[in-house]
Symmetry: C2
């Protein structure tokens, strides 16, 4: 069995006084300190990052991490667009399964706010197909097509979407590391400017800077010395076509469905046993699809279910979603997101989630998506 | 045990009529056909690529591969500059060790010749430290500093370097897939224009397009059905500081030394048992350092030893180096290089190397380097 024993995240936001590697270093030192581990006790590092090459001509980041840590160990960078962090975690798990008694660090980071919106948006669109890029389809545009199809098919309106952001912004007020820490109303969401119809500014996750790191180990001696640990019950990756037009259905994210089914099978638990989940709400519609594709709600029901706000902290529901604030309110520094999600579940399962602590949380799930669903990673942790 | 059962590479060169994914598709279909495997029999794909993000705003390539293959399996992209291919192979090996009875495909590719030399050189320099980039240190410049130091310390001249390219160009004439297939003389090397003193054009590997793929499996049923298979005895990754100035010695590539020592320990064979090696001769000096750092020749002796050309095909030496033509003559499509090296060893160990076939080759080694030595991967295969 593999265990997550520590988690550290920088604040997410517009961190103009920090470089990518300032953030990476803060996250790495933070998690090492928390677990009282020295650099030389780490056997491998897995780094998730999407845009450093495109935005700042910064590749071979693995060697930069070796320089910061003053080590000569294997260091790997994985890139699967916005799923880069979750994929790095998945690779780290395979590494541990192949190598007994090892400690690995998984770091995700992105530095996005130092560039013009055009530069950042162009970089992000690199995760779409060439044809979609040439057609001018940004991510907002792609998710807007999905949202239009979903709302039309199941007879919902933009009002149904708005509740996702309202909930996640409330959760953001409970998380000191979140990019946005103020509540919003569904009226504010509905009156915010359109980004791509029917998605508005307040349906969309922001451009953020940040870095997050976790320690995963299969060394029971190390686990015993730690105050907190959770078991990694499953981590599954699935892919799908990069182009929306090649998919049979665009009211579902097939890669999430496949990865979710595999993960529940591997973890040997039921959907109803999950107490807390971090889902990839890059746009409001994405959280609704995730709730359905992971089997928490039936297909087509999420638009109705979200109005009840049973997944909001404090409402007494059995499953609370995106207590970190989700991508919408905690922010979305792309490479960091998948690690922050796993870290948030770790906090919840170990009673460290402070103002947003869910009582008696035993199992948690994180879902990290790349592009418009071309990659999904589903991770299940248990205490 | 894990086995390599198939290898396909596109031609390397200036392939202006092919896109990155034309090349990737050719390599994937080629190796699948060779092993008589269908797409759905592949359990995961590992993709090594450095520059598609920087040069053509093409990220999330993992999902593009899913679309080509029409599969929903886990697909991973690794990036460690010029070691991206070797690192992808290393991750694939860990994946197999964690998952019994699986077949994986490892693909490396790069599309480099469609851009201006300035664009490509700027992209490649992304593998160096920010400080080195700002100082205008290209890769030629970094390896030139290493070469100057080495030549000065061990009392050699540019003539000693020239023999590396002469040998590798001769090997290129024996490989139909090589970028350059003509012999050169040491006089021609010495008279070629300087790129960065003391390195000249003919000391330097070219900018190439190409894609290479191998199948690795731990499914013995699949192995038995194949005509050819070799055992993966070791694959080890080590890292070092990204900046030359942070290193204690620049007449050695420490990451290669560490990865090599680990690999020989894991493979449980001696240096003298290696019959054939593919070394990362991005510049002539790099092959000399690799021969020393891997322990084939003593430190400081390579400049003298290379004059004897014992590592050239047909000269009857015990160890033949870079039968593919090396990076110098077979070409250096960055992400493909590490896979082509492993593929060349596969061909040699299975008697498929045609005009350049070494007799009775039993063990082979591939060494793949990222940046100016910030990452090294050493792989040992045996028949």
């Amino acid at each position: 069995m593999n265990y997550v024993t520590g988690y550290y995240t920088t604040r997410f936001g517009e961190l103009w006084d920090k470089s990518l590697f300032d953030l990476v270093e803060e996250a790495m030192r933070g998690v090492l300190k928390q677990n009282n581990l020295e650099n030389k006790q780490i056997d491998a590092v897995f780094f998730g990052n999407m845009l450093a090459g495109v935005l700042e001509n910064n590749l071979h980041t693995t060697s930069k991490i070796a320089e910061i840590l003053k080590v000569n160990i294997p260091i790997f960078r994985s890139e699967s667009a916005c799923a880069s962090g979750g994929v790095a975690f998945n690779l780290a798990k395979a590494y541990l399964e192949a190598n007994p008694n090892k400690n690995v660090m998984i770091v995700g980071a992105e530095k996005m706010t130092d560039y013009s919106p055009e530069e950042t948006i162009t970089g992000l669109s690199a995760a779409a197909s060439g044809e979609e890029q040439e057609a001018g389809l940004t991510f907002s545009g792609l998710y807007a097509m999905i949202a239009n199809f979903y709302l039309e098919k199941y007879h919902y309106t933009e009002k149904n979407l708005a509740h996702v952001s309202v909930k996640n912004h409330f959760h953001g007020t409970l998380n000191d590391k979140a990019h946005f820490r103020r509540t919003i109303t569904s009226d504010q969401v509905l009156k915010s400017p359109y980004v791509a119809y029917p998605l508005k500014v307040l349906d969309s996750s922001p451009i953020s800077d940040g870095a997050s790191a976790v320690i995963m180990t299969n060394n029971l001696g190390v686990v015993k010395k730690q105050k907190y640990s959770v078991s990694v019950l499953a981590s599954e990756v699935a892919t799908d076509t990069i182009s929306l037009k090649e998919r049979k259905n665009i009211d579902e994210i097939l890669s999430t469905k496949i990865a979710g089914n595999l993960a529940f099978k591997k973890a040997k638990i039921n959907r109803s046993e999950i107490n807390v989940a971090e889902l990839h709400d890059c746009f409001s519609i994405a959280e609704l699809l995730a709730m359905e594709d992971l089997g928490f709600w039936k297909k087509g029901e999420a638009g109705k279910k979200i109005i009840e706000q049973s997944t909001m902290f404090g409402n007494g529901g059995d499953l609370i979603v995106n207590t970190s604030g989700g991508l919408k309110a905690s922010g979305h520094p792309v490479g960091a997101t998948g690690i922050k999600q796993i870290g948030e579940i770790f906090l919840q399962l170990t009673g460290q989630a402070e103002k947003r602590q869910i009582k008696n949380a035993k199992y948690g799930l994180a879902q990290n998506v790349g592009g418009s669903g071309g990659t999904s990673v589903v991770t299940i942790l248990g205490i």
